[in-house]
């Protein structure tokens, strides 16, 4: 059972996936208030009765292009406190940057495959509901593969970049330590160095701010 049951609106045009997602969320004790198949209905139900969290597909009817993303942006503009988790069939940071342009409130961008890792998926969900940022490891891996000689990240060591990448996935220090097979103290030291090296925006959680720096560049 989760810390607190969330009221969730689900937008996914494939009936198969909608049912699958709903049953996973149900099992976890969350309340799937509405499960809809297109972006317009999504906006309508959210406006009528705002949930804690919205889970939406990127590609949805009627145009089957990025309606889900646009709906997410509209929800973010109208209800900044609703957590938004976007599920995508593709790794495309072009979509990600448009999502991250609005920074308040929890935001998540995951590949649909992640839903199958039920425990991790539910943990990501909670993090987004709490206002955190969760980005798919695959996207992070791709961003990491990009070598850049400029920007604030140039000062970081490869290890620090690795830690930052795991932070971007939404992991806490303990989980990062486990992943990298180092002590939690070592992770804390790396995180401290990262905060020191990056010029972080004021008024934001330093962790989120560091991750955003990393993702935006």
């Amino acid at each position: 059972m989760p810390d607190r049951p969330l009221s969730i609106v689900l937008a996914e045009d494939s009936l198969l996936l909608r049912e699958g997602l709903a049953s996973i969320l149900d099992r976890a004790g969350h309340e799937v208030r509405d499960a809809v198949g297109d972006a317009d209905t999504l906006l309508a139900v959210v406006r009528k009765n705002p949930p804690d969290l919205v889970i939406t597909d990127v590609r949805m009817p009627p145009g089957h292009s990025d309606e889900g993303l646009r709906a997410a942006a509209a929800i973010r503009a109208g209800f900044p406190t609703i957590g938004i988790l976007v599920l995508s069939q593709y790794v495309a940071d072009a979509y990600l940057s448009s999502l991250l342009e609005t920074t308040s409130g929890g935001i998540g961008y995951l590949l649909k495959d992640r839903v199958g890792h039920v425990t991790e998926f539910l943990a990501s969900l909670d993090r987004v509901a709490e206002g955190g940022t969760v980005v798919d490891p695959e996207v992070v891996r791709q961003l990491l593969a990009r070598r850049r000689d400029d920007g604030p990240l140039a000062a970081l060591t490869p290890r620090e970049l690795e830690v930052l990448a795991l932070m971007a996935e939404g992991r806490v220090n303990a989980s990062i330590a486990e992943q990298l097979v180092v002590s939690e103290a070592a992770v804390r030291k790396h995180v401290g160095n990262i905060f020191a090296k990056l010029e972080l925006e004021d008024g934001l959680d330093r962790r989120v701010s560091a991750v955003l720096t990393y993702l935006r560049r």
Partner: protein, 424 residues
């Protein structure tokens, strides 16, 4: 060594008399006799018949069919004229749209200007052409035959030649050697000119006019564009099918397997389910890669610039993208540019041993210009790879070009240019 390719050029050379051209001229002129005769007989028969039948509607209907006779004449004559014009004359007829019934096809041809011109040519050939040919080529051939046979004829008979009369073999031989070459020279030049003139007439009346050439070119371009279009549509259809069908099912499968993992106690059964789960995920990852190769979603949703940045990000070497496109371009052009760039980047990563790569894209006038340059070893051979060849064909259909400059030692620079609009 190849000889001159028309009779006029041949006439100007010193080798004319020993070339094949005098004989071609004979062949052309003599063959126009039967063709001209058949033509005029057919035409006269047709006219008579339709005149007789004109009280009935059939006769009038027959008259409207006359241009079709022109089509046949044109076909035969364009074939026959190859004796004089080795390259042949191209047909003025338009390609007919696919899926026409026979009736529609006949009507289409009947209404073409080229058919009427061919009919006119047939009338000329039937009334003057074959008579002139028969008169000059026939007479000349007869004189040559008689001259050649003079020694034989003169042996047994008397041969009256104007003021002379030949009545012995030696006189015949004398006539052959003195008069024969002279006649061959004079008649060859004369008949060459006559045959050349007839061929010119055929060229002028049976070949395509300027506007017909232009129209054919436009038709060709349109049909190639249609092909590119059909190709794109098919790609999009396959992509959508994979996305909405196979991919969704696989995702559904991983969800079910994920749920099963939660319920199963540790043991062999759970180990197998976990294994199945990771295999399903691997299949999904492969499928994602394939779908992107077929028709990248980002390209459709967000345009060329965003899609190119995605490819650049996936490249194993640092790629700088400088692209400024004020508007979205038509889908086939965006797709062609995208595939050129992704193919080029793949090639750079594979072969160039480069450490830096740069993609630039801008609109110059009414053209999209894209360059991909790297600091690698150069020496890229455009004919060696097959990847870019298909893209060249595609660009060609869009009116675009692809240039590769890759001197040994580098740098390599690929430049693509393509009109921004499809309709010109």
């Amino acid at each position: 060594m190849r000889g001159p390719d028309n009779v006029w050029a041949a006439l100007a050379t010193r080798r004319y008399l020993v070339s094949s051209w005098p004989w071609r001229s004979y062949a052309y002129l003599l063959s126009s006799i039967p063709v001209g005769l058949v033509t005029i007989v057919l035409l006269l028969l047709g006219i008579t018949l339709s005149a007789l039948l004109s009280p009935l509607i059939v006769g009038i209907l027959m008259l409207t069919g006359f241009p079709l006779v022109g089509v046949v004449i044109g076909t035969v004559e364009r074939w026959r004229v190859r004796v004089m014009v080795p390259g042949g004359i191209s047909s003025p007829h338009a390609t007919m749209p696919a899926r026409m019934t026979l009736r529609e096809r006949l009507r289409f041809r009947r209404r073409e200007q080229g058919s009427l011109r061919a009919l006119g040519y047939g009338v000329l050939l039937g009334t003057f052409g074959w008579i002139a040919s028969a008169a000059f080529a026939g007479l000349s051939a007869a004189v040559i035959v008689v001259t050649l046979l003079a020694p034989v004829i003169a042996t047994d008979d008397r041969l009256e030649m104007g003021p002379w009369s030949l009545d012995s073999t030696s006189e015949g031989v004398l006539f052959l050697v003195t008069f024969g070459p002279l006649w061959y020279v004079v008649s060859s030049y004369f008949l060459g000119c006559l045959a050349g003139a007839e061929a010119e007439l055929a060229k002028a009346m049976l070949g395509p006019r300027e506007d017909e050439l232009r129209r054919n070119l436009a038709e060709l371009r349109r049909s190639r564009l249609d092909l590119v279009d059909a190709f794109e549509t098919e790609r999009a259809r396959i992509e959508r099918h994979l996305h909405d069908g196979v991919q969704q099912r696989l995702v559904g499968l991983t969800m079910t397997l994920g749920l099963a993992e939660l319920d199963l106690p540790d043991g062999e059964g759970k180990r197998l389910v976990v294994k199945a789960h990771s295999e399903a995920e691997a299949a999904l990852a492969d499928l994602r890669e394939a779908v992107r190769g077929i028709h990248p979603r980002v390209l459709v949703d967000l345009g060329l610039e965003a899609a190119v940045r995605e490819v650049a990000d996936r490249s194993p070497l640092p790629v700088t993208v400088r692209m400024t496109l004020p508007t979205r371009l038509p889908p086939p052009i965006e797709a062609a540019a995208y595939f050129v760039i992704s193919e080029a980047l793949a090639n750079v990563a594979k072969h160039a041993a480069a450490t830096l790569c740069q993609v630039d894209g801008w609109i110059g006038g009414d053209r999209l210009i894209v360059t991909v340059s790297d600091n690698g070893v150069g020496g890229a051979d455009p004919s060696a790879g097959t990847g870019l060849t298909g893209l060249v064909t595609r660009l060609d259909a869009l009116g675009g070009t692809l240039d590769l400059s890759s001197p040994p030692g580098g740098p390599t620079r690929l430049r693509m240019e393509c009109p921004c609009r499809l309709d010109d």
